[in-house]
């Protein structure tokens, strides 16, 4: 029972908690790099969510070979390949965004001399 529950739901729970943790970091931390890390965690959560929906406990790989039967009793038993390919794209996009965010963060540090968003806000006034 517990195992079944874990098997079915653990990844969803984990992914949504990652999103929650990431949001918490973004909303509460003052340091720009921590905010970027928070954004990254949100992205990881989303990616995990995408992989999790493609997977179920008894899935087989979605490649047709002599020993790998994709259908059992007329039901598809493969893992869904599409979200896995999507998640690759999402990871790349996340990488790009993070790189850009870090670049902006470095620039901000150069111009303002601080990474604290509150101090930056005061400096802008």
């Amino acid at each position: 029972m517990m195992q079944e529950f874990l098997q079915n739901w653990i990844y969803f729970i984990a992914s949504l908690s990652l999103v929650g943790v990431g949001l918490y970091i973004v909303l509460t931390k003052e340091n720009i790099f921590r905010i970027i890390v928070g954004l990254n965690i949100i992205e990881s959560g989303t990616n995990l969510f995408m992989v999790a929906i493609a997977w179920h406990p008894n899935a087989v790989m979605p490649i047709y070979t002599a020993t790998n039967h994709l259908m059992v009793n007329g039901k598809v038993v493969t893992a869904d390949p599409l979200p896995q390919s999507l998640v690759l794209t999402a990871i790349v996009i996340g990488l790009g965004t993070t790189a850009l965010a870090l670049a902006i963060g470095i620039k901000i540090f150069e111009k303002y001399g601080t990474l604290d968003v509150r101090k930056i806000k005061e400096a802008e006034k």
Partner: protein, 621 residues
């Protein structure tokens, strides 16, 4: 299909495009403006009552019919406004205020479209066009900062009015599925018996716009500012012609209450009209009272103008034959004398360089033609027979008394008496008395201006002595509204309810008495000219007392004793109400602005909060 009607709108638009190109060359700009006005007037001669033109517009998902339609009322309004505009444009050839010809022509195009339009899309389009063109025109006044404020104030009122009308237009569209003005009014009159409050609500949306445009209480606050600080050459059109758009609009909607038999009445007037009548009466009184205490001559006549519009509104609100006749007649007279007065003020201000009464004086010898035009103008405004303001005021009183509206009549009489006070003040302060040293070298306006002034003077006398020429077309309008027109008499008569007045007789008697007075003046004791400040200072030099010569000018605090009487009433500030709305909006804006001064996290927080609220809403649903 009468294609000549489309030229009434297209002509000014083309002229406007041309003048916009040559806007840098002032004389060319004014010349083309005048020629366009004259051509439009010529095109108008080709228009007759009953003509119509319609074209289609693919818009709002359907094919809409835009219709131009010439009714008795619209052709009357067109003639008087375009003719006056032509005269003004002719004067503006020699004027050097910062009026832009293309804006005036845009207003003219809108003017023609408003008066002819039989569909609400065209009406609204023209109304908005007229609104912004006149707002931008007001910007060019002499006192830059003040005219900026005036233009903004006017624009806010105008925009608020437009949106209110827009709302009303679409409400009507939802109910009837058509934009045709006549069809919608027919619809409104068909449901007024069953749902009077609905109709009242919808019509109020329109009336707010019309009242703002005509400057009817409590929306009169923009009038003095916009009139006083607009370019001097634009003010005559603003006062004479543009205040009539509201009157025209009201005339379209006012019959509603009458069409339903058994609609509750007060004093024989539908109660809606009765309430509206009081807005007119209050405007007349308020305008007069405020006018008395102005030192800026353009402000003084701005209040005078709106006070006269109060008469017009009070009269047309009655919607009796004599009321409508009186209202339209007074609207015409208002156009003529107020236009003439503002043109003479334009002349005086362009020569003297000031609009302060306390800085003027004694100009009559320097500017005789202007002086006589002004004199006839104020005589008309005061309603002195045989000049043109008399007949209409007389009819207004008759219309009121006919309905036993004693109290309103008394108030209007009071306003009329007040009118004598401010008119005399202006007359005395500008032209009579001693000439100030600053104006020793002032000359009469150039010949073009003199021609215009003389023409207007003759027109005022002519329409005063021969009112039939104007009462006949008004009779046709009254008839076209389904009312019984007043009896048609010879040209010299003003035909009233109780008695008729033969104007030429009054005219001759006035001429005779004037000659008699003049003889008396000549045979009486000799008179001598003294300097302006001679008679107050008793040999003292005012500077020693820390006073300036202006304070000893006779028009300084001209009506101070009367002013004290009205002090309690000045505490009621309608203007303050509108400014209060503005301040409140601003304060709210400052508060709301604080949402957006956070940092990235704050914005992310808003987004998350928004998300959570929606999720909860979705949960509950």
């Amino acid at each position: 299909m009468n294609t000549n009607l489309i030229w009434l709108v297209a002509m000014p638009l083309i002229g406007s495009a041309v003048t916009a190109v040559v806007v840098r060359y002032k004389f060319l700009d004014r010349l083309i403006t005048f020629l366009t006005f004259a051509t439009t007037l010529f095109v108008l001669f080709l228009a007759h009552v009953g003509q119509s033109y319609s074209w289609t517009l693919k818009f709002l998902g359907t094919t809409l019919n835009l219709t131009l339609n010439v009714s008795h009322l619209s052709i009357f309004m067109l003639y008087i406004s375009i003719a006056f505009g032509t005269v003004l444009a002719f004067y503006s050839l020699i004027d050097n205020s910062r009026m832009k010809g293309f804006l005036l022509l845009l207003v003219l195009a809108a003017n023609n479209w408003i008066f002819m339009s039989n569909d609400m899309i065209g009406f609204f389009f023209a109304w908005e066009l007229m609104g912004w063109a006149s707002v931008v025109s007001v910007l060019g006044g002499r006192e830059k900062e003040k005219s900026r404020h005036a233009a903004l104030y006017y624009a806010m009122m105008s925009v608020a009015g437009s949106y209110s009308m827009l709302f009303g237009i679409f409400i009507l569209w939802r109910l009837t599925g058509t934009f045709s003005i006549s069809a919608n009014i027919a619809y409104l009159s068909s449901i007024i018996g069953g749902h009077p409050w609905w109709v009242l609500g919808i019509v109020s949306l329109f009336f707010m716009t019309f009242m703002i445009k005509s400057g009817i209480f409590p929306f009169h606050t923009w009038v003095p500012l916009a009139y006083a600080y607009s370019p001097d050459a634009f003010t005559p059109f603003l006062s004479a012609a543009m205040s009539k758009y509201g009157v025209y609009g009201m005339l379209l909607f006012l019959p509603l209450g009458l069409l339903e038999k058994g609609f509750p009445t007060a004093f024989g007037v539908p109660w809606t009209n009765y309430i509206f009548l009081w807005f007119g009466v209050i405007t007349a009184v308020v305008g007069t009272v405020l006018s008395i205490f102005q030192d800026d001559v353009k402000k003084l006549f701005a209040y005078s103008s709106l006070s006269n519009l109060g008469y017009v509104v009070a009269a047309i609100a009655l919607f009796t034959p004599v009321g409508i006749t009186a209202g339209i007649y007074h609207a015409f007279n208002h156009l003529l004398f107020e236009g003439a007065l503002f043109i003479t003020l334009l002349a005086v201000i362009s020569r003297s360089g000031t609009s302060k009464l306390s800085e003027m004086g004694g100009l009559w010898k320097k500017m005789p033609i202007t002086f006589f035009t002004f004199f006839v103008g104020i005589a008309s405004a005061a309603g002195i027979p045989p000049f043109n303001g008399f007949g209409s005021k007389w009819l207004v009183y008759q219309a009121m008394i006919k309905q036993h509206l004693i109290f309103a009549t008394i108030l209007l009489f009071l306003a009329s008496t007040g009118a004598f006070m401010y008119l005399f003040k202006a007359f005395h302060s500008i032209f009579l008395g001693q000439l100030s040293h600053d104006y020793e070298r002032v000359k009469e306006v150039p010949i073009v201006g003199q021609i215009v002034e003389a023409f207007l003077m003759i027109a005022m006398i002519f329409f005063g002595v021969q009112p039939g020429y104007i009462l006949k077309p008004i009779g046709a309008i009254v008839k076209s509204m389904g009312l019984k027109p007043l009896p048609v008499m010879a040209n010299g008569y003003v035909a009233g309810m109780f008695s008729n007045v033969y104007m030429p007789l009054i005219g001759w008697s006035l001429v005779v008495s004037f000659i008699f007075g003049f003889i008396l003046f000549y045979v009486s004791a000799e008179h001598k000219n003294v300097s302006q400040t001679d008679n107050y200072t008793a040999g003292q030099i005012p500077e020693d007392w820390g006073l300036t010569p202006e304070t000893y000018q006779f028009s300084w605090n001209f009506y101070q004793p009367v002013e004290k009487l009205f002090v309690p009433f000045f505490r009621i500030k309608i203007d303050g109400f509108f400014r209060g709305i503005g301040d409140w909006t601003k304060a709210t804006g400052s508060a709301i602005k604080e949402i957006f001064v956070g940092n990235a996290q704050m914005y992310a927080f808003f987004a998350i909060v928004g998300l959570i609220i929606f999720v909860i809403a979705g949960w509950m649903a």
